[in-house]
């Protein structure tokens, strides 16, 4: 929605706190303050513990889910969240059977779906910048559910929520990010959100070809966030004992412009019990899922495996976020 309208309908959240997210677009974690994130986390905690019920707080509201790229967790958790809050859901989940397959532009899709009286659009699209573009086209809030390799802010919210609940803090956390840092959309969002906390240290653990993009480094250095890079296997082993959390990402095969580059890095890292033996015993392993072969199933049995709980956190986080953005009734 136009920026002049962002944050326009500020009300009070069910926590009794000012709802700073009412009516806002959720496009990038660059735009979210620590207070915005903490508001979502506190409401999600209350939802998880059953002290606050958000059921039916969005009765009479319509949420559109436009997913132009494959999704399991994000689509399903947004769908279940919206339905359990009582909202009506309009969805485009398979672009092959919509007018997108006939070449309809994102702009036209947004204008068309907005005409059906929706109160919010949740968008996943393969193009970087698609969410911001859609937000400028729409008069209702747009939530970015993945914009190509650029960002995935709601994933970062559930990631930091998981770190906070498992580690007991985010300030001062030492986070290793291992894998495809170049094409993963979860990595930039996670970095931008972690940058809002104090004393966080980030370790980018990846071969040169998969190292983090320059705009992420620039954002972190402008905000004084300490980060280091570990490229070789030996460097990665050296970093392991320092970490509180190891965040693993899949190689995003579908985003490589050159298939030969993918072949060069394919299988270049595997997180297994042996690699974890170099870390602390309480090291938490996270993964946005799906995984392919970069995270061995043998880790599932270890207490270090946080990733299934991380995935479950998607639901309370998206419930809380939808409720706050739509300014749901108490």
């Amino acid at each position: 929605m136009p920026s002049s309208l962002s944050g326009g309908r500020e009300g009070v959240s069910p926590l009794g706190l000012k709802n700073t997210l009412a009516g806002r677009d959720i496009i990038s974690c660059r735009d979210l303050s620590r207070e915005d994130a903490e508001l979502v986390f506190r409401l999600a905690e209350e939802v998880n513990s059953g002290t606050i019920h958000l059921e039916d707080t969005l009765v009479g509201r319509k949420v559109a889910l436009i997913f132009v790229e494959p999704s399991t967790r994000t689509f399903q958790s947004f769908y279940v969240a919206a339905r359990s809050l009582g909202a009506e859901v309009l969805s485009i989940h398979d672009p092959a059977v919509s007018s997108i397959a006939k070449g309809e532009t994102l702009y036209d899709t947004v204008k068309m779906i907005e005409g059906y009286g929706v109160d919010c659009i949740v968008l996943r699209h393969p193009a970087r910048g698609s969410a911001r573009f859609a937000a400028e086209a729409a008069s209702v809030p747009v939530i970015n559910a993945g914009s190509g390799s650029q960002e995935h802010p709601t994933q970062a919210l559930l990631d930091v929520f998981t770190i906070k609940s498992k580690l007991g803090r985010v300030d001062g956390a030492k986070i290793g990010m291992l894998g495809d840092l170049r094409y993963s959309r979860t990595i930039p969002s996670l970095c931008y959100l972690l940058a809002k906390y104090n004393g966080v240290e980030i370790f980018f653990m990846a071969p040169h070809l998969l190292q983090v993009r320059r705009e992420v480094e620039l954002y972190l250095s402008e905000r004084g966030v300490t980060y280091r890079k570990a490229v070789e296997a030996d460097e990665i082993k050296e970093v392991m004992p320092e970490l509180d959390v190891l965040y693993v990402t899949r190689i995003q095969k579908e985003r490589f412009p050159d298939p030969t580059e993918y072949e060069r890095v394919r299988g270049s890292y595997v997180v297994d019990a042996k690699l974890l033996s170099y870390g602390r015993s309480d090291l938490g392993v996270m993964h946005p899922l799906p995984r392919v072969d970069e995270l061995s199933p043998e880790v599932d049995k270890l207490p270090n495996a946080w990733y299934f709980e991380q995935a479950r956190n998607g639901l309370p986080i998206r419930k809380a976020l939808l409720h706050l953005v739509l300014g749901g009734a108490e």
């Binding site: 193009a127 970087r128 190509g148 620039l218």
Partner: protein
């Protein structure tokens, strides 16, 4: 009378863009948007390539007869070609102009990221950049991709 001024006569009204690096004069025309220049029937454009220069050795000069470069255009020219000097001519009188730097650039430059929404066919998305001069880059406001200022000429639209 200097040798360069012999190449083409003086103009009485318009803009003279001087000290353009040799063979970069066409980039100036692209930055000014040739199509919009064409729409003004009174405008004449004279591009001088590889003229001897005390300051640069060789340089290009662009003379825009009956066209006053706007402040926004002047700022972008100064960003991309920092050596350029901009002279406004009114009734033969020369007025040197020193523009500041732009904060934003709208249009004119294609995003180097092929998967950016501004590069998706038929989407009505116009490129928009924030200038981060201190880092020597501009950043696409849609997709965050950084483009080094010296590489801007490679991505000019048109």
């Amino acid at each position: 009378m200097s040798s360069e001024s012999l190449l083409v006569r003086k103009i009485d009204w318009g803009t003279v863009l001087d000290h353009i690096p040799a063979w970069k004069g066409d980039q100036v025309i692209k930055l000014l948007n040739l199509e919009s220049l064409k729409q003004n029937p009174d405008v004449s454009v004279i591009v001088l390539h590889n003229v001897p220069s005390k300051k640069l050795g060789r340089k290009d000069i662009v003379k825009l007869y009956h066209y006053m470069v706007s402040e926004d255009e002047a700022k972008i020219l100064a960003l991309v070609l920092p050596q350029i000097t901009i002279n406004y001519i009114r009734d033969w009188k020369v007025e040197k102009h020193s523009p500041g730097l732009p904060e934003k650039i709208v249009g004119k430059i294609r995003c180097p990221e092929t998967t950016c929404i501004t590069n998706v066919e038929r989407e009505p998305a116009t490129t928009r950049y924030i200038v981060m001069k201190e880092h020597g880059v501009i950043a696409c406001e849609y997709c965050d991709t950084l483009l080094e200022i010296e590489r801007i000429p490679d991505f000019l639209i048109g």
